[in-house]
């Protein structure tokens, strides 16, 4: 199987599990690992934006700023101190939950991001639900009728969908369902929870489709493997109906690897929201990231990048621990 993954990840190329750790429990090892990654992510985010060419103060004040003005601003942002001392101050801030102050809006990054977390989180949640609703029936259909026309069609769909730019697919959906059929809004978030849900249908389908091809592949292959297992033959031998065999025995066993894969790909999904929010004019965290990039608002870009990476680490940790509960074999690895 090809290790299809650029951000998108198959379990094959998933996180390598280290045998080291001695007598530590699986949970403890995963927690320590997550903390180390969080520290690394903080350092990486800091270095990323400090490696940026150009002086942020000059970019904010413009070319005509006097050296004194520049110096004053640099001092206020702490840019005139050494890199390690800047990092130390940044790390202390982050631990306190302070992501710095926006260069452009003059407000704290957390107060800018806070109100936007709702739409993004709801979008991700709906996208995950759509991804499952699309994946499970298609993969089951394909696996239960191996090499049939239906199987070929599902596999063909996942090959085509893999090369589908999600922003373009979103535009096509807008064209069909909003412009022509006028069933759903063109964009925006609406007001009230009902409107929110309605506004997020097309964006969530768009975001879901970015990860559906890999999920279908994984679940289909997983189900095919389980279908060959002895206990499936035994279940059939006991006279259980095919539907019962499929849903009670096969799907349950193929579900854990797919759950792990879903957890890993939520990272990709969170990244896709940046694009999807832009297509559908949603005021989420992702669209704030793009605006901040256009404004060259360093602290906001830094804060959002860090925040999203932390979200990914927490989601991965949760799915790993959940998978280990569902499948005790994982804990022994």
């Amino acid at each position: 199987m090809a290790g299809l993954s650029l951000g998108l990840r198959l379990p094959l190329t998933g996180r390598p599990r280290r045998a080291s750790g001695g007598g530590w429990s699986y949970t403890a090892r995963r927690l320590v690992g997550a903390v180390l990654v969080l520290i690394g992510v903080t350092v990486a985010t800091f270095l990323l934006l400090h490696a940026a060419p150009g002086n942020p103060a000059e970019q904010v004040l413009g070319q005509r700023a006097t050296p004194a003005q520049l110096h004053a601003l640099e001092h206020r942002w702490g840019l005139d101190s050494s890199l390690p001392s800047q990092f130390w101050r940044y790390a202390k801030q982050v631990v306190r939950g302070d992501l710095g102050t926006s260069f452009v809006y003059g407000k704290s990054v957390t107060s800018l991001v806070g109100p936007r977390i709702g739409p993004t989180a709801l979008l991700v949640a709906m996208a995950v639900i759509f991804a499952i609703l699309i994946t499970v029936p298609l993969a089951t259909l394909a696996a239960s009728r191996r090499d049939s026309v239906a199987d070929q069609a599902v596999r063909g769909f996942s090959v085509v969908a893999l090369g589908l730019p999600s922003f373009w697919f979103g535009i096509v959906l807008i064209e069909i369902f909003a412009v022509n059929l006028k069933l759903l809004p063109v964009g925006g978030y609406g007001s009230g929870f009902g409107n929110h849900l309605e506004s997020l249908i097309l964006p969530a389908i768009t975001a879901a489709l970015a990860i559906v091809p890999l999920l279908i592949r994984s679940l289909r292959v997983g189900m095919l493997e389980v279908l060959d297992a002895d206990f499936v033959a035994a279940a059939r031998g006991n006279g259980l109906g095919e539907a019962r065999v499929l849903f009670r025995h096969v799907a349950r066993n193929a579900a854990v690897p797919t759950l792990t894969l879903l957890g890993l790909n939520i990272a990709y999904l969170i990244g896709s929201t940046v694009i999807v929010e832009n297509v559908f004019a949603l005021n989420g965290v992702g669209s704030l990231l793009l605006q901040s990039i256009q404004n060259r608002d360093f602290p906001t870009v830094q804060g959002i990048t860090l925040l999203l990476a932390v979200a990914v680490v927490l989601v991965n940790l949760t799915t790993d621990l959940l998978a280990a509960r569902l499948d005790p074999r994982i804990r022994l690895q």
Binding site: A2, G40, P53, G163, F167, L269, G271, V274, I275
Partner: protein, 286 residues
Amino acid sequence: MTSVAVSTAAIGRAPSAWRRLRESPALIAGLLLLAAIVIAVLVGPLLTGYSPDQQDTANILAGPSSAHWLGTDQLGRDVLTRLLYAGRTDLKVGILAVLFPFFFGTLIGTIAGYYGGLLDTVVMRIVDILVAFPFYVLIISLVFVVGPGTRGIYIAFAIVDWVVYARTVRSTTLVVRESDYVAAAKLGGLSDARILLRHVLPNTISQAIVYIMSDVVLVIVAIVTLGYLGLGVQPPTPDWGTMISQGQEFLTTHWALSTIPGIAVVITGLSLSLIGDGLADVLRPR
């Protein structure tokens, strides 16, 4: 995939790989489709009779005609010509962008897997940190830091994209390292460099080669996405992403402007995915 199977398959690979090539309809279809696309983007622009920036101000937003097969855009430029030039750019940038990640990732994965120890730990920690970032967030932030445009794309992918190659190759190297023939080669007094190049790499690289096709698809999609966001290939160079984003303004009246370049991306992606799937079949040991 076990190393032993890989090594025995390698002995008779040349003839059987050729036979399998003919037996793999996906590979043949993908190669034909890709060849058609490459010829179209290389030769096509010479035949349309327009330059990508040439404006026909009398024919703005015109529909398909014998003069403009796919119509014109908001500046009266020939859509077909721009589509083909954009294909040149996006294919070229997509392929160039994966070269460094492929070589660097394969190299670092082989070395880390073979020697293990501190180097391996450090490499895998860096990998863990890089994959913790949502892909598009990291790419967009990197392009922001380096500056938009093709240079930004190359640098961003060089930093992010080697991870997958390193991981895949490392995990295979861990298996191959323990094999009898590597032990035999070591006992025979061969140098590490020779063992790595002649005995380990040939067995680990096939997965990286299979992956490179899917990688080009994902990178082209990412390049087009960056173009759409205004962070990728910069105008006036035509790019499918900027074509889609410019066409989006005229969605209600001229839907084809943003739809056609998207179809081009999908077809290109399809050809590369078919080749990738076909290669996976052909290189898979039996």
